[in-house]
């Protein structure tokens, strides 16, 4: 089992390398950092621009492969290079990574737990009103793009706050820098509410649909009946035997769902004015910032592959048939 996971881990590491390299190549060939220096008044001499770009490893006159080698050897030692105007990508990333991870982690956990719970409940109540309500709700949410959803949420909160006359739920920013101590902590939590909702609603809808199907498959299985025949209550049998077994397939979707989550995070950060990795990606594309784009891409691929590794772990933990072989 340990060897199996180790092998999966090695494959994942190679995949991260390939994904990051491709992302760098794409950014380096299509973006034009020179543009930022060319249109200036007074004009900057070409030699000066070249020298600056060379220093940041952004000069389009250097062959792309050579730039890639420079970039890659930096990345291997932990140096992600410079931004378009000479700032350190590492420093910027250090500031932003925690912001994004907090959002992604909470969003994923909330989405998975609530989605699986709603799906299982919906299956048990098949064709009842609550099942239909959850079903319709899920499809409506899945049909709304995350940026529309986030905007709608922000507008609704704004009107709510105005109606109440004070700010019940924060709808912009990450925290209030004027506060300190516990106040600061609760303020951070308050700021988290809206982005978390907008980010996890999609995955709640997604997981609930999957889990409902899995659960329905399992509900008619003989072993649930056996559990009740032993003398377990229906609720216990459903929870301990049915849901436990039906969780296995949902865990494999974990990796896939994480990709959508990253996309969602980009919009959510932008809309709620969080300075995370997603917002940075949008900004750096606007600024033709090759190294920053490459760094965010690397971060994203790392996240996806960690998620897939976690889903392997989860499946192995849940399913003895995988573990024993």
């Amino acid at each position: 089992m340990g060897r199996y996971l180790l092998r999966r881990f090695a494959t994942n590491a190679i995949l991260v390398m390939i994904a990051a390299s491709l992302a760098y190549m794409l950014a380096a060939t299509t973006m034009n950092p020179r543009g930022a220096y060319e249109g200036r008044q007074p004009p900057v001499a070409e030699a000066v621009v070249d020298a600056t770009l060379d220093e940041y490893n952004l000069n389009d006159k250097t062959p792309v492969f050579q730039r890639y080698v420079t970039w890659a050897s930096g990345v291997v030692t932990g140096d992600f290079g410079r931004t378009w105007n000479g700032g350190s990508v590492n420093e910027e990333m250090g500031r932003r990574i925690g912001v994004s991870l907090r959002l992604l982690f909470i969003g994923t956990v909330v989405g998975f737990v609530l989605g699986v719970g709603l799906g299982a409940y919906s299956a048990v109540r098949q064709y009842r009103f609550s099942d239909r309500l959850i079903g319709v709700g899920s499809f409506v949410i899945m049909a709304i793009p995350v940026f529309v959803l986030a905007t709608l949420l922000a507008i609704a909160t704004y009107s709510l706050n105005r109606g109440l006359g004070f700010t019940l739920i924060e709808y912009t920013g990450e925290y209030n820098p004027k506060l300190s101590g516990w106040d600061q902590f609760f303020n951070r939590l308050n700021h988290l509410i809206l982005p978390t909702i907008s980010l996890s609603l999609g995955s709640i809808a997604f997981y609930s649909r999957i889990q409902r199907n899995m659960m329905l498959d399992v509900l008619n299985q003989d072993f649930v009946r056996t559990a009740m025949a032993k003398g377990l209550r229906r609720r216990t049998a459903l929870f301990k035997h049915a849901l436990r077994t039906a969780l296995i397939p949902a865990a494999t979707y974990f990796a896939f769902a994480f990709g959508t989550m990253l996309t969602g995070a980009t919009f959510t950060e932008k809309i709620f004015a969080w300075h995370g990795m997603g917002a940075w990606l949008v900004d750096s594309i606007n600024q033709n910032d090759v190294n920053a784009v490459a760094a965010v891409s690397l971060f994203a691929s790392l996240c996806v592959l960690v998620a897939s590794f976690l889903s392997d772990l989860l499946v192995a933990a849940l399913d003895p048939r995988v573990r024993v072989n």
Binding site: Q221, F223, G231, L232, I248, D319, V324
Partner: protein, 689 residues
Amino acid sequence: MSILEVRDLTVTFPGDIQAVRGVSYEVSRGEVLGIVGESGSGKSVTSLAVMGLLPQNAEVSGSVMLHGQELVGVDESELTRVRGKSISMIFQDPLSAFTPVYTIGDQIAEAVRVHQKLGKDKAAQRAVELLDLVGIPHPNVRAKAFPHEFSGGMRQRAMIAMAIANDPDLLICDEPTTALDVTIQAQVLEVLKTAQRETGAGIVMITHDLGVIAGMADRVLVMYAGKPVEQGAVDDIYYRPRMPYTMGLLASIPRIDGAEGPLVPIEGTPPSPAALPPGCPFAPRCPMRIDVCEEEEPPLVAIGGGRQVACLRSNEIEYKGLTGEDVFPVPDIPPSEVVRVPRDERATVLELTDLVRHFPLMKGAVFKRRVGTVHAVDGISFDIAEGETLALVGESGCGKTTTLQQIMQLAAPQSGRVVVLGRDSAQLDRSARKALRADLQIVFQDPMAALDPRMPVGDIIAEPLRAHGHTNVKGRVAELLELVGLAPEYAARYPQHFSGGQRQRIGIARALALDPKLLVLDEPVSALDVSIQAGVVNLLEELKNTLGLSYLFVAHDLAVVRHLADRVAVMYLGRIAEIGAVENVYDRPAHPYTQALLSAIPLPDPEMERTRKRILLEGDLPSPADPPSGCRFRTRCPKFARLGEAERQRCVDEEPRVDRLANAVDHGAACHYAEQIEVIPASEDQEEK
């Protein structure tokens, strides 16, 4: 005193589907009540209703009294106190009846802890004891195994262990051995008897297998269309049935003890529970019906001797001493022309010589490497003469299906030779192979899965004709439908409109479309109910005789084989253990495996079942990836166990070949110490001959 008393139990599902319509019975301590009936007769629903395990949309009325306590309509907490404690249930399919993600030991311990205040380790200890009781070797190790690591027979033993964990007063067994092979079935039935002795519980045994009931039950309840139609002591029901349905059911079973002549089929199919006929539900299929039968449903009335019958003409049946053979029309099957020619002078339609099929056992996800070999078929030889039926029998995993696949592929085998109608399969080119396929057709086991649900029946049958470029397809389809006993108008309907037996007939019509010479039948009747099965078996026999077909018949039901086959080959772990004419192999089996197999089959005859001695085999089939050296059967062989040290050595070192037995024309066995013995008691009708 009775433990369980069921009164007027009815179960209705949404859409006014009356699955159970008034069932009453009692079970006393230590008594075994057998409930028989075909699929859809309501026998399983009845027992689930007793347990309160039906889906919530089922409407249950009537009364179920357990030790005088009412169970119908009580709330869940009262039911959970009874379930698994006073009443336990054993389900049909032991694979799906265990939760795949918990160990067997944990699941049994859970059953213990639900009802007894025991610590975790004490309960685990008790689980190990229970596994030991039901005969699981190394119970303390096996308790930590997951369900998928158990074989089918072992799982059913574990299921029994779980059911008796709390010393129940009543065990409900719902088709407990239907999913198992015969030798394993014999083991499990023994375990069930042990369990009953240990707990002194009453047993409700639900099954469609009249042989199992004959050996186990004290009393029998026969169900039809959701209602009991006859009830009484086991001997009365089997020897003196008073209701035409019971009579037909008993007459339709093929007998392993060699009664000849066509089987007695019951025409038609059971009524749908959503659309019951107004009178007696059996009337449309009953040859004894009179006008009154179609007007009013006859009630179940006591006729003395603790018996109850629901038939208006039961007195007449008793008075005249009628049996199923007297009442039901027996079809007349014309004899075969071909068999008059001696076997040696007939052409050989199929010949296998040392056929081998090994599958590599691979490991690894990206870089696969070979870690072993599954010896699925390991050198088998047999031949089929024109107009002959050879049956290939054996338990799951013995290589029957692989052999079929190798023949049907019409390609060069890994080793050995397959000669179909005089043509070596290794030397066929594409067009010759296609042409030969017309002469070699197959009928599949599952008639539900073998027909495309989105294709009209006419097109299904026409497909092989079109593929081989025939014209006048329509006329031929009509002809074929008539040949298998279906109306030509059915060509426009879809498979879903047909019952299982009718679908199997459609499958046979498709196989016959191209006028084949050799038909491969892969368990053609094992998915059908007995009364339907008889009709299909008769049809196969008739077709063989009138069309001069040869059959290669694969089956695990040895009674059907005896009825249909001329010769039989018994397979064990990829090898042939015994081969020969049916009379020779069945009446004087020489290989210890054949002897055990035949003795394991329950006979639908209570008297014989009680007096019969069984040869029980130990353990499960060894893995075909690692077959024992020498004789493959020696690890389970009762004879090997009795041999002296020097004699045993030969079994370990030398693999026996199929040798012809000295005193028989067509009988060979692969055993160093072959010795013919009789294991099936001869039936009366054979003694008369």
